[in-house]
């Protein structure tokens, strides 16, 4: 920016010292410079007195509405992230539970099969029982997982966890029913008597 423009700018901004004002006056002696400065002053006056636009009615309400939505979305996102962590933990527990629950069943089924080889006449009956046992096991696990899922409440996840932890004992009860086994406690009680 040359000296003339700099002085004009500072004059418009009201920042000229008396010496600079004299310098500008000398420059503005020329018709062309005077005309240019006058135009700038007209513009300056127009802009300085320009009206302010007022915000439309309800703008603040709309803004606060958007902020509330944004906060809600953020909270939902955080909760989903938290739920994902919980879900992963639940799946881990469920897999462990299923493994723990089915391991004795597999061992039991293997034992039945081995004994059936010694007595081929009962093999068909044993196979039917083992198959029924596995189908029942899968059904029970599926039903209990669905129940756990339906009962899930982010604020009270213990209910679901409790259902999951009941899977091993339920399966054990099922095995005893199918195999016609007596309860150990009852047996002990009977023997005591």
């Amino acid at each position: 920016m040359d000296r003339k423009n700099q002085l004009m700018q500072e004059a418009l901004d009201g920042e000229l010292s008396p010496e600079q004002q004299q310098e500008l006056d000398a420059i503005l002696d020329g018709d062309q410079e005077r005309a240019e400065y006058d135009k700038l002053q007209v513009l300056d006056d127009i802009l300085r007195t320009a009206p302010h636009e007022r915000a439309p009615q309800r703008l603040a309400l709309k803004i606060m509405g958007r902020i509330a939505e944004s906060v809600k979305a953020q909270q939902k996102h955080n909760m989903e992230a938290e739920l994902t962590e919980i879900a992963e933990a639940v799946i881990d527990v469920a897999m462990t539970t299923v493994t723990v629950a089915t391991l004795p069943l597999l061992v039991g089924a293997s034992w039945l099969m081995l004994n059936a080889q010694a007595r081929p006449e009962v093999a068909e009956d044993v196979l039917a029982k083992v198959t029924a046992l596995f189908i029942l096991t899968i059904d029970v696990i599926q039903v209990m997982l669905e129940e756990a899922e339906a009962a899930y409440d982010p604020e009270n996840p213990e209910v679901s966890m409790a259902i999951l932890t009941m899977i091993p004992s339920t399966l054990l009860l099922l095995v005893k029913q199918v195999m016609g086994l007596e309860d150990d406690d009852e047996t002990d009680d009977d023997s005591t008597e």
Binding site: V42, L43, L47, A50, P51, A60, I63
Partner: protein
């Protein structure tokens, strides 16, 4: 309204108090909206930009430097957002008829309808002038004339140097002054210099 009050609202808003942020919005909505309107020359878009500016401010409250003026910070967000919008608009510009303002809120201490009409006409003519400026020149003019920010403050808000702002502002003034002269010279045109 004292700065300590605003600081209290800001701290409360950072702690999640939405009512405190609502106070901030009420305090600065006119300033932010006027800036957006002057930058975008479209009331609907200006309203949306003002909303977006406050939303961004709310989401970035933790980044606010408490040594700075909160108003300057919000205005900085709004002006940069408007510059972005203008740049995007250039890429996908669709001409939209400017809707007539839905409401001109006329409280008992508001100007009379004739004055409002006159002000609107004046405002629109000034807007037509501003429309001839590049986005960053326009931002400098609006921040200087409507909000009386110093060159240093404008430079900080627009992330540039003080000398760049001085230069932009002078060129903008020259461009606008030339436009006023040209329009005044056109036969049949209303004299823009009447606006002064």
């Amino acid at each position: 309204m004292s700065d300590p009050t605003i600081s209290q609202w800001v701290y409360a808003a950072i702690d999640g108090d939405q009512d405190a942020f609502a106070e901030i919005v009420y305090a600065f909505q006119d300033a932010v909206y006027n800036l957006c309107y002057r930058m975008l020359n479209n009331r609907t878009e200006a309203e949306d930009a003002a909303q977006e500016a406050f939303l961004r401010a709310y989401n970035n409250l933790d980044r606010y430097d408490h040594n700075r003026s909160f108003k300057t910070w919000v205005m900085s967000i709004a002006s940069n957002h408007c510059i972005d919008r203008i740049r995007k608009r250039r890429m996908t510009y669709v001409s939209i008829d400017e809707p007539i303002p839905a409401t001109l809120s006329l409280a008992s201490d508001d100007p009379q309808p004739e004055q409002v009409a006159e002000m609107n006409e004046r405002s629109q003519r000034i807007q037509e002038l501003l429309d001839h400026l590049q986005d960053d020149y326009r931002a400098a003019v609006v921040l200087r004339y409507w909000y009386d920010y110093s060159y240093a403050e404008i430079a900080e808000m627009l992330d540039t140097t003080e000398s760049a702002i001085k230069s932009r502002l002078f060129r903008a003034r020259q461009t606008l002054a030339a436009l006023i002269t040209d329009r005044d010279a056109e036969p049949g045109e209303d004299r823009l210099s009447r606006l002064s």
